[in-house]
Symmetry: C2
Subunit: 442 residues, 2 copies
Amino acid sequence: MAETVDILVAGGTVLTVNDKDSKLEGGAIAVDKDTIVALGRKEDILSAYRGRVTIDVPGSIIMPGLVNAHTHAAMTCFRGIADDMELMEWLNDYIFPAEARNADPELAYWGSMLACAEMIKSGTTTFSDMYIFEEEAAKAAKQAGMRCLLGEVLFDFPSPSFKTPAEGLACTEKLIRKWAGDPLINIMVEPHSLYTCSPELLIASKALADRYHIPLATHFLENKAEAKQLREKFGKRATAFLQEIGLLDERFIAFHCVAMDEEDIGLFADRGCKVVHNPESNMKLASGVASISAMMKRGIVVGLGTDGCASNNNLDMFQEMDTAAKLEKSARLDPTVMPARTVIRMATCDGARALGLDSLIGTLEVGKKADLCIVDMNKPHLTPMYDEYSHLVYAVNGSDVDTVLINGRVVMQNRKLLTIDEGEAMRRVREIADRVRLSLSI
Amino acid sequence: MAETVDILVAGGTVLTVNDKDSKLEGGAIAVDKDTIVALGRKEDILSAYRGRVTIDVPGSIIMPGLVNAHTHAAMTCFRGIADDMELMEWLNDYIFPAEARNADPELAYWGSMLACAEMIKSGTTTFSDMYIFEEEAAKAAKQAGMRCLLGEVLFDFPSPSFKTPAEGLACTEKLIRKWAGDPLINIMVEPHSLYTCSPELLIASKALADRYHIPLATHFLENKAEAKQLREKFGKRATAFLQEIGLLDERFIAFHCVAMDEEDIGLFADRGCKVVHNPESNMKLASGVASISAMMKRGIVVGLGTDGCASNNNLDMFQEMDTAAKLEKSARLDPTVMPARTVIRMATCDGARALGLDSLIGTLEVGKKADLCIVDMNKPHLTPMYDEYSHLVYAVNGSDVDTVLINGRVVMQNRKLLTIDEGEAMRRVREIADRVRLSLSI
């Protein structure tokens, strides 16, 4: 007799992205509650299981949901507010004043909700987030049914949500305690960067992260100017300083890492630190090109992230994969580096490893949480198909995603969001944008 | 009394991309036959004109149709057949054998038709094409209602469609005569490159182009290896050689131009030569980064193209614009270069100038042909909107295009193609792909 499960997913080629990169043509997946309970040939699965719900998108690709390993979700509210300018002009004349005058719990909630809508619609099921009023991002993600790892951004100076670093740390600890054991929401400690956080704040952040055995993440060496500034500040290379104060370990996640040289890479590799690559943002801000191939060669786990909407300007991980592959080839003058399969791992299982969530997600395997996306390949720009990996990286865009499951729940079907009222999210963010415009007189 | 015209287009912000970059919020356009007859505020246009058909997409952007200034349309048939490998392995082990064994009029027709479907669906209204059996591309474009400038690719060696260079030239001249005066199909002379064409063939090509006052286009200095090889072959830089044999003038269009240095750029600028930039293909093949800012600073007209689907792997000009902006910033370490407005001009009016079609298309102005696309901005990933140009370059992808007019004809409405049976085009190309797979044993 067939066993009854909650959901059967069928209709296409299953890319497991497991250790062997196994591919099942005409595959199917049985999901019960939040978990993948079986995976195999469609006929086998359909004879062994009966689904309360069956999702069948013919000719599709079924793959692990994408992991956006670094973003600032609520910054959807500032999408396209300022482009094509020097970093410091961008930050000081637009982003910082816009945030100082407008960032509040409402902006954080609705900006994050709109980001969740956009992310689900482009196949992302997990995101790693750093921003102000991060409790609101957690609430939005919970409502949207998205998995996340997030933390309140910490600075030496006051943020719109706290006055002192101690208050920022207390806010983080409150998040940790509140969301402990939640199936979707995970918390980390996120000092903003080494140029906005004192050694004391970094050390206290690490102590907090260690107390709860959670990751600590920060922006790191985003460009050469930062590397130079930190070397002058510390009298040594930034990585050496971080090692000295005890930050470099397997739960250290560094965003950007554009200006890391061979010695930095060696230190990261030795200590098991994680890196998140943000190619589109790095290009748009003219930060330089991170040495991703070299990092991977040394065994560093590298995830992929879009960064926030003020420097990208979308959250489409399929386009980010395309750029990650092409940028590395272009920068190394070698078309063989960063092949499609590697980039897909970066956006799925390696992203999950970078965030410390790989026991739960990142691949389609029995026992893993059912986080997956179904990409509709029956389109002119995806025809013909010789190789699934190639299409996903070089031809698909986020709008080709048809259906998304997170933690065993269908959050989008046939491009209709089931957990978010996208009309309301857009309306709310447009209202927020009206006040942002007024506050900046633009 | 209101004057009756064929089509009124309304419902959004009109970006004219004219010399002043005029923008009309709440604008409308009156189209009669193939031509834009009026353009202004919606209320003014709607009181002055009555449309037999009215197209109204609220909250959209109405902009000139995009000009894909260099592609190989029929190569959709080889989309994703081989990636992530050295150029010569890619060419010699995959592309050339695939073409030698499979390229025929059927492949050329259906591959081009599928390309037209993809291009219209992503907002392209004009394409410049180089391939084998180009009569078939012309037929497909005519059926699709697309504007194009195309030419049979010429080599010293036999192609699947001709045995000798003389036959290739004769084939080109036949195309010129057959399509003379056609409102959509324009012909040019296209020797493949300086490394596959003898000086004699180049000179004969130029004579043919001059006889009919049409452009001559070729792949040029796609990477440093080519520049070095040509310098050895000619005993001088390739641009100097081209000038010597009389090719460099305002009707000379050069694709890629990655390895052009300051002296080459100066020569191109002095002679009024045109350049087509192919950033995604150049990145994917690790060819290097063309000096586009420097070319523009010297006044060279630069268009934008996707190149063929075997090296991109899609024909999405919105994604190409995004990459063009970001790559230039990244390569120059300057976020101010290649701002959004410049990139949009590259993909519209400058593309039209590069192809010599700027008297007809490239901007939305009274008297120009009605080639336009309407982009639906009412989507999470395009919310909120502070700046239309920013969104079009950094946030939109081709799937956001809602409706397309070419030469006054609606070729897509609400994403439904009206001139192409996209199901048939996909089915035909899948059949061709089956025989390609067999021929290469993949």
